[in-house]
């Protein structure tokens, strides 16, 4: 029995206080700080000067590499999120079937997810290396190729490799989200569908997809955020070289801040990135939730 109305009203907030304090200190305060910095002059060594309006934003948008970087970011997010979702979905369907060694298959799938991205990217760097790369070694020994192939002969190909590694490391996350959704689907629904004469595609469209939509939504929204903000793969494999042609927004703004020492525009870019993510995630969540309500 509560002793007073006030206590019952405030007790839950009291319990939430530590979490709120942590979020305020480590999430909200830095965000406010970055917003403030993005409207300030910042010297090359990082000394914060006076308020300078939207100058940092104007400088950022006028950078010669800005368009390339934005286009790369768009390709990177769509390719990695899109393909990893499709492939992850298919793998989840397979893993949801009963077969021998299913548990082992599931554990193997976690491995790329459990390894740090820097290590993954470094390992792939070695795999596709021209001189002593494992890929060339294996293909040469198998007799598939007669001469070592330069797997990184142009920046377009390097960017495709980076997207490939991005997809590879993202698949496990999608698979497990979808697998969790699939396991919650009641078998009786499929039985009913079969009774109604539904085939594979029909079952997929009318039973599976609607039932896993919530988990798919969560995995896609989180993925958009993770992939957009993903730094280690591109930084480890190319550092955006040649001349920012393989940069995405996150690696670009890091290099801009700490290599080019244009800290003002870099801060402005990070705010732009934050807003883009908020808008993308917002639209997506809004759209999906409205569909679910229908």
């Amino acid at each position: 029995m509560y002793t007073s109305f006030n206590r019952s009203k405030w007790t839950p907030y009291l319990w939430l206080l530590p979490s709120i304090a942590l979020i305020a200190i480590f999430v909200i305060y830095p965000i406010i700080l970055v917003f403030k910095l993005s409207f300030s002059e910042i010297s090359k060594s990082g000394v914060v000067g006076k308020f300078n309006g939207f100058q940092n934003y104007i400088d950022a948008v006028n950078l010669p590499a800005f368009k390339t970087v934005m286009l790369n970011t768009l390709i990177w997010v769509i390719a990695v999120v899109g393909l990893s979702t499709v492939i992850g979905f298919i793998i989840a369907m397979v893993l949801n079937q009963k077969f021998h060694g299913r548990k082992i298959a599931r554990s193997i799938l976690v491995l790329p997810w459990a390894t740090s991205l820097v290590i993954q990217a470094s390992v792939w760097n070695y795999i596709i290396k021209y001189e002593y790369g494992n890929l060339n070694d294996i293909l040469l020994n198998l007799g598939v190729i007669k001469q070592a192939v330069n797997w990184r002969s142009s920046f377009q190909i390097e960017f495709i490799w980076e997207c490939g590694v991005g997809i590879f490391v993202t698949i496990p996350f999608v698979t497990f989200c979808v697998l969790a959704g699939l396991q919650s689907v009641d078998d009786s629904l499929y039985e009913a569908a079969i009774m109604d004469g539904a085939g594979f595609w029909s079952k997929l469209k009318n039973v599976t997809l609607p039932m896993v939509r919530p988990s798919l939504t969560v995995s896609t929204v989180l993925n958009i955020i993770y992939v957009f903000n993903s730094f280690p793969i591109i930084y480890t494999m190319t550092k955006g070289a040649p001349a920012n042609k393989t940069d995405t927004m996150i690696t670009f703004l890091y290099m801009l801040s700490f290599y080019d020492r244009k800290k003002g525009p870099a801060t402005a870019l990070s705010v732009i990135g934050f807003l883009i993510l908020c808008i993308c995630a917002g639209i997506y969540m809004f759209g999906v939730m409205r569909k679910e309500e229908k």
Partner: protein
């Protein structure tokens, strides 16, 4: 009885606290950030790499009243760590890094004359001190240097039957001969135009053609005809297949690995290359020569120098005592019994005269490198726009690798620099 014990405890605690604050008042704390040059740096400063003890313990034992909060930071994170600390008004007292101009121009540094004892100051190589002057003030002291030269695989050149190239034309001929002899299995030459060190490539090919980052008056001249010709020559080496295949992403460590594995015949590398190759288990019969230059031009060795600088701290209660403490730190660091071990540990070249004798005695090859060091050129790191130029020339090179016109790229950079 309980009350008495409690009272006693309280009295003891008050005294303990009192004496602690007293000690803290009397003691000067220096935040020191040291760049990590190799696997031994950490051990030497903080572990047991200094004959069983370490720099911090030994320094504090010899200099009571000064406490060092010393941090060894990897080069990968160094700029991020320092800049973030500056933004948060928490700059270190002493910093070891390569650049200094931005810090000096922002008014963050103290002039060296404020804290460096005269005897020590006179010990530095004058040519090194000159590299850290802005507006007639010395803002940093050199901590060590390295020099670059051409290394070649003696066995490969002998097998092919060619002489060591000294000019660009000879370099092309030798490269073609190596390609023909080994059927393209061995790269004749190494080029690194990566984001890490593409500015070094710019220096090698422009200085070797009478150009460079600045003109004779010290003004930026990145788009001079000599520079364009020099970079075009480097690009032609790549397009003719004389070099490693991906110069935009293969760092000098990748090149050194290829050299250590016997896959590369010649490259420009720092004086530590023999140690590096030995550490990698490579057994390469190597020798050094001057960096090839264009016909009729003199090649110039490239010197790379790092620095130690001290930041202002207006909040320090006793400025004179703080300056003296920083001076003691430097005196201790450069004392031959400490400094010689430090420089030779990672295979660098010294920055003070007092270390030369001991170093040459321990390794005769040092003598030859010191001669190289005496004639080499340095990056114009004292100029405020150096970061912009460094990144600008790297981007220009990388754009040229993807087909852009180097003249147009360098013109654009020069225009950005206001000339």
């Amino acid at each position: 009885m309980k009350k008495l014990i409690a009272l006693l405890l309280a009295v003891v605690m008050v005294f303990a606290l009192g004496s602690m604050t007293f000690a803290a008042d009397d003691e000067i704390e220096l935040d020191v950030i040291i760049a990590q040059y190799g696997p031994n740096t950490n051990e030497w400063f903080l572990g047991s790499g200094m004959d069983g003890t370490n720099f911090v313990d030994k320094f504090e034992a010899e200099n009571p009243g000064i406490k060092l909060n010393l941090e060894v930071v990897s080069w990968n994170d160094l700029y991020t760590v320092v800049d973030t600390r500056i933004t948060n008004n928490n700059a270190p007292d002493i910093l070891n890094i390569d650049v200094f101009a931005n810090y000096a121009n922002d008014g963050l540094l103290m002039p060296v004359s404020d804290y460096c004892p005269e005897e020590l100051y006179a010990d530095f190589f004058p040519a090194f001190i000159e590299q850290s002057i802005i507006d007639d003030t010395v803002w940093a002291v050199p901590d060590l240097a390295s020099a670059r030269a051409m290394f070649y695989n003696v066995d490969i050149l002998e097998e092919v039957g060619v002489e060591v190239p000294t000019t660009w034309a000879e370099l092309e001929d030798v490269s073609q001969a190596i390609i023909d002899f080994y059927d393209g299995e061995i790269y004749p030459w190494g080029i690194d135009m990566t984001t890490d060190e593409g500015q070094a490539a710019f220096a090698y090919y422009t200085w070797g053609n009478g150009g460079g980052f600045v003109d004779v008056d010290g003004n930026w001249a990145v788009n001079s005809p000599e520079n364009v010709e020099g970079i075009n020559f480097a690009l032609s080496l790549i397009s003719n297949g004389y070099t490693n295949p991906n110069p935009a992403t293969e760092t000098r460590y990748d090149l050194q690995d290829m050299f250590a594995a016997g896959k590369m015949a010649m490259l420009i590398a720092p004086n530590q290359l023999p140690t590096y190759v030995a550490d990698k288990g490579g057994e390469i019969n190597m020798a050094t020569a001057g960096i090839p230059a264009n016909e009729g031009k003199t090649g110039s060795s490239v010197g790379v120098m790092d620095r130690i600088m001290a930041f202002k701290d207006d909040a320090a209660p006793d400025q004179a005592a703080r300056n003296e403490a920083i001076g003691k730190f430097l005196t201790f660091f450069y004392a031959p019994e400490n400094y010689v071990g430090w420089v030779s540990m990672e295979g660098f070249l010294p920055a003070v005269n007092s270390a030369v004798e001991a170093l040459v005695a321990s390794d005769p090859s040092f003598g030859a490198w010191l001669d190289v060091l005496a004639t080499c050129q340095f990056y114009p790191a004292a100029k405020a726009e150096w970061d912009q130029v460094k990144q600008g020339v790297i981007k220009a090179e990388q754009s040229a690798l993807t087909g852009a016109d180097i003249q147009a790229e360098l013109d654009a950079l020069q225009a950005e620099l206001g000339g």
